[in-house]
Symmetry: C2
Subunit: 169 residues, 2 copies
Amino acid sequence: MELAEARQQFIQSWGVMGSQWGINRTMSQVHALLLISEEALCADDIMAELNISRGNANMNIRALLDWGLVYKHFKAGERKEFFVAEKDLWTAARKVIKERKKRELEPVLDMLETLNSTEFTGDEEKVRQFSKRVADVRTFARQSDKLLSGIVKSDRKWFLGGFARLFGK
Amino acid sequence: MELAEARQQFIQSWGVMGSQWGINRTMSQVHALLLISEEALCADDIMAELNISRGNANMNIRALLDWGLVYKHFKAGERKEFFVAEKDLWTAARKVIKERKKRELEPVLDMLETLNSTEFTGDEEKVRQFSKRVADVRTFARQSDKLLSGIVKSDRKWFLGGFARLFGK
DNA sequence: AGAAACTTTCAATAAGTTTTGAAAGTTCAT
DNA sequence: ATGAACTTTCAAAACTTATTGAAAGTTTCT
């Protein structure tokens, strides 16, 4: 198989996965491209490889920097900016978990805390039942938050090591 | 606070979270509505509560059944179908993980396995570097898959119990 | 200060996704 | 076999999100 073809396959597949998880397809593709690139790439390289406009490239590169998945890299004698991906995927995954937890889980958690400490007006029995459900969901969400925090704080060994001992007991 | 208002807040917030994770907003809202409903609801109840069309309600209820997050419920003497949510969120979460793993992680894993056992044509050094990157990503993806499988198989106690002992050691 | 090299912004447009609603399909009771 | 009750389908419309490209902005060099 041609190397170029294999690269495209990797980039496409990574893009599809991203879009299924609510991440802009182009952003995932830029990430994929940088992941498999040894050399730091500049905006023009990325535009050319992925066939996208300058604006689109710029916006998605900024987003990746923002997530901490890509770093700026300056080459001596070159004026433009180059970019490299965080190549350690465990580090990258932890950043994604941390960030999504903050952006997407915490607002729900806040809503649940608020509802949990509010008194409702309405049919007494219905209020009782609703409060019970909210409390259940809150417990679950807090537990999930705790689990994710633990993962973010844990080190590579935990991830690389066997998980067998962690479950079922 | 009015009970009705609180219900809307819960439903909206759950809908936003879903959409951020690549799940149709209406589907999350139907799920939220069923989660906080003691009684089983029929299509018309859901249409009325969420102000959506019959087609939309039907399509999203089917999807939730498909994910195993909602069950059909028949009421004696009633001809129409009623629906209830799986109220145990740990059970629901495991189903979601299992399903997303299958639908969204496994295709990437397959791509990585294929690329990993393919010889590439092209500049020798570039091929070597690309293969190394693919191997790295594959290792990470397999490890993630293993971790998720463990979670899916683990029991509630593991989730409810303290995670402290699991990390950092 | 001016010009070149580069990055960012943003309004217009394109692409993609979701929703609707009416028609077709199904099931069940008589 | 018919009709009422209910569910499913699907093409068209509405809505949302992503992308473009040209203009504006910034930085660096002489």
